[in-house]
C-alpha cells in the first residue's frame, strides 16, 4: 500500500519548487561568496545561462497551459515572448541615455543612424520601468485577446489554428525586420547598459536577475496550478476533450479558449522580459516560426499537461542545444528533428510520463522474474 502511494504521489511539483528554492540560495552564494579559484565557484557566464534556461522554462509552461490543458496548439507563441522581450528592450534602450555611440540624449543609436529627428510616439513612456512592465503584459495580452477572439469565435481549431499562429509570428517577423518600424530592424535592440540604475555587466545584477527568474518561474507554476485545479481548469480540459459537449451543458467555449490563450500569452511576454536583460539582445529572429516550433518540442519532450514537465523539457533541450552547438553545430537541427520524432512515436507523455511509468515497469519485471525463476527453483528442489 505504502509503495503504491509513494508511486502514485506526484513528485514533480515538490522537485520543481525544491530545486528552484535551493538554486535561489546556492547559486548566489557560489557565484558571489565562493572564491573564483575554488571548485565550487559558479561563473557569471553559468549564472546567466541558467537564468536564460529559467526564462525558457517559464515560456514552455505558458505554452503548456494552452496546449496541454486546453488543446490549443499554438505554433506562434514565440511571438508573445518576443513582444514581451521588445517591451523590456525598449526600456533598456532608453536607459542608455548619452552613453550610446552617437551620444544622443534622447534617440537610440539606430534612430540617429537613420537620421530620425525625434522619438516615435510609441516609444514614449518606455523610460519609466513601470510603464515598460505594463507593456510587457499588455501588448502580448491584447494581441492574444484580439487574435483569439477572432479565431475562436469563428471556431477555428486544430491544424488551421496552428497555421494561423505560424502566420501571425511570421508576419511580425517581417514587420520587425523593417527599419521603418522603429525597433532597430534586423539588429534589434542591444548594447544595454543598466536596469533600474544597476549595471547589467555586474555580477550582482546578473545574480539578482537569475533569482528573479527563479521566483517568477515558481510563482508562474503556482498560479498555473491554481488555474488548472480550479473548476475553470476542469472546464478547460473538458473543452480540450469534447468541446461540443461542453457547449451543450452551457459553457461558452470560445470565451474559455480566449481566456486561457490570453493568460498564456501574458506569461510568455513575462518570460521574454526576463530573457532580454540576461542575454543582452532582442532581435527579430525571436519571431522566427522555427523558434516557436522548437518551443513545442520542449513541451512535448518534457511531457505536456503537467506544467513541470514543460519546464523540464525546456531545460533538457536547451542544455543539449548549448552543448551540441558548441561540439557539433551542424548536427543540431537534425538532432532536434530526431528528438521530436522520437518523442511523438515512443514517448507520448514525454520524459515525465516515462519516469512515472518506470516504477510500474520495474515492479512488473520483478514479478515476472519471480514467477519465471521461482517456479524453476521450486521445480528443482521438489525433486
Amino acid at each position: 500500500m505504502l509503495l503504491g502511494r509513494l508511486i502514485k504521489q506526484d513528485w514533480g511539483r515538490s522537485i520543481l519548487l525544491g530545486t528552484l528554492g535551493v538554486m535561489c540560495v546556492v547559486v548566489p552564494v557560489a557565484n558571489l561568496l565562493v572564491p573564483e579559484d575554488s571548485a565550487f565557484h559558479v561563473s557569471t557566464y553559468t549564472v546567466t545561462l541558467l537564468g536564460k534556461y529559467l526564462s525558457y522554462a517559464l515560456l514552455a509552461m505558458a505554452l503548456d497551459l494552452a496546449w496541454g490543458y486546453c488543446g490549443i496548439l499554438s505554433l506562434g507563441h514565440g511571438a508573445f515572448f518576443a513582444l514581451g522581450g521588445y517591451a523590456m528592450g525598449m526600456y533598456l534602450m532608453r536607459q542608455i541615455g548619452t552613453r550610446g555611440v552617437y551620444g544622443h540624449p534622447e534617440l537610440p543609436d539606430f534612430m540617429v543612424f537613420l537620421n530620425w529627428q525625434e522619438l516615435p510616439w510609441y516609444w514614449f513612456g518606455f523610460d519609466a520601468f513601470w510603464f515598460a512592465m505594463l507593456m510587457v503584459v499588455l501588448v502580448p495580452g491584447l494581441l492574444a485577446l484580439v487574435f483569439g477572439w477572432l479565431a475562436f469565435r469563428s471556431r477555428v481549431t486544430g491544424v488551421y489554428l496552428s497555421i494561423m499562429t505560424q502566420a501571425l509570428t511570421y508576419a511580425l517577423l517581417l514587420a520587425f525586420y523593417r527599419n521603418e518600424m522603429g525597433f532597430g530592424g534586423n539588429n534589434g535592440l542591444t548594447d544595454f547598459k543598466d536596469i533600474l540604475g544597476a549595471s547589467l555587466q555586474s555580477d550582482v545584477t546578473r545574480v539578482v536577475l537569475f533569482v528573479v527568474s527563479a521566483i517568477a518561474l515558481a510563482l508562474t507554476y503556482l498560479f498555473c496550478r491554481f488555474v488548472v485545479t480550479s473548476k475553470l481548469g476542469r472546464v478547460v480540459t473538458a473543452v480540450r476533450d469534447a468541446d461540443d459537449r461542453t457547449r451543450f451543458i452551457g459553457y461558452r467555449v470560445e470565451n474559455y479558449k480566449v481566456w486561457i490563450f490570453t493568460v498564456s500569452a501574458v506569461l510568455a511576454g513575462i518570460a521574454g522580459a526576463l530573457y532580454v536583460p540576461q542575454v543582452g539582445i532582442i532581435n527579430p529572429s525571436e519571431f522566427e516560426p522555427l523558434k516557436s516550433i522548437e518551443l513545442v518540442v520542449w513541451v512535448a519532450l518534457g511531457g505536456r499537461g503537467t506544467l513541470y514537465g514543460a519546464a523540464l523539457g525546456a531545460v533538457i533541450v536547451n542544455y543539449a542545444k548549448t552543448w551540441m552547438t558548441g561540439a557539433f553545430p551542424e548536427v543540431w537541427p537534425f538532432a532536434l528533428g530526431g528528438l521530436f520524432i522520437l518523442v511523438t512515436l515512443s514517448l507520448p507523455k514525454g520524459v515525465v510520463g516515462l519516469v512515472r511509468s518506470l516504477p510500474y515497469w520495474l515492479a512488473s519485471r520483478v514479478l515476472y522474474m519471480y514467477h519465471k525463476w521461482g517456479s524453476l527453483i521450486r521445480a528443482k528442489f521438489s525433486h
Binding site: K231, R245, R247, G250
Partner: protein, 284 residues
Amino acid sequence: MFRRSVHKDKPARGFQPLDDQSSRFLARKPSRDELVNTDSGYILYLEDITVSFDGFKALNELTLYIETGELRCIIGPNGAGKTTMMDVITGKTRPDFGTAFYGQRLDLLRLTEPEIASLGIGRKFQKPTVFENHTVHDNLELAMEADKRVWATLARRLSGEERDRIAEVLDIIGLKEEVLALAGSLSHGQKQWLEIGMLLMQNPLVLLVDEPVAGMTKQESESTAELLTTLAGDHSVVVVEHDMEFVRSIARRVTVLHEGRVLAEGPFEEIQHDAKVIEVYLGE
C-alpha cells in the same frame, strides 16, 4: 397533406416581446421560468423547419409541438431526421426555413448553444459523450446548473447543498461506487447513465434524449424507462429511440418521422396499426 391533418388544432403562440421595459429598469436578470413562458401548455414549437445538406433535405417542413411536461417518443427509420431535429432545437444546426420557439417568447434560432443550454434545454447524445479524463464526480459538477461564465468559474467552490445534489444524482444513476473513477473507464451502459446524470444536474425544463438504451442490458433499460417516466411531468422529455419494446414501455404519445417530416402522431397502439407507418417500416 397528412401533416396538416395531424395538426388540425394548431396551438396558439401569442408572441410577447422578450425585453419588456420593467425587467430592464429593475436591473434584475429575469429568471429562467419568467423567460420561458409556457402559459399555453406547450414548451416547444417547431414550424415548417427545413434543413438541407448539399441538396438532401434532412428535415422537410417539419412541424412539431411538444406539450409542457409530456413524455414524447420520436421514432423513424434511419435518415428520418431525428438527430437533425435535436440539432436544430439545441442550436447546433440552423435551418434554412421555419421557426423554432421555446415557450412563447424565446426564438431558438437566435440563441447560441450555451444560451439554449442555460435556459434549460438539456441534451443526451446518441453516442454517449462524457468527459473521459474527468472523474464521474467532476463530470456531474461540470454539468451542474451554475454561473458558467469564465471568471465566476475560476473562483467557484462547491457548496454543501451542491454536494448533496451530486450525491443525490449519483444515487439515481447508480454510480456511487464509481464516483472517483475516470469516466473513460466506465462501461458503455454506465456512460449512458452518467450522461443522463449530467442531464439531471443541469436541472433542465426540456430533456432531449437520443437513444438512451443503446448498449444497455434489459435490466438497465427497464430502470431507464422508469427514470424517464418519473421525470416527465416536472420536465418535458423527448426521446428518440429505435428499440420498439422500450418505446412501448414508456410512450404515451409517439411521433413517427419519415424523410424529414411527421408521418404520424398519436398513442402507441394507434401508431402500431397505422398503415403508412407499417409500410415505411416493413415495406423497405
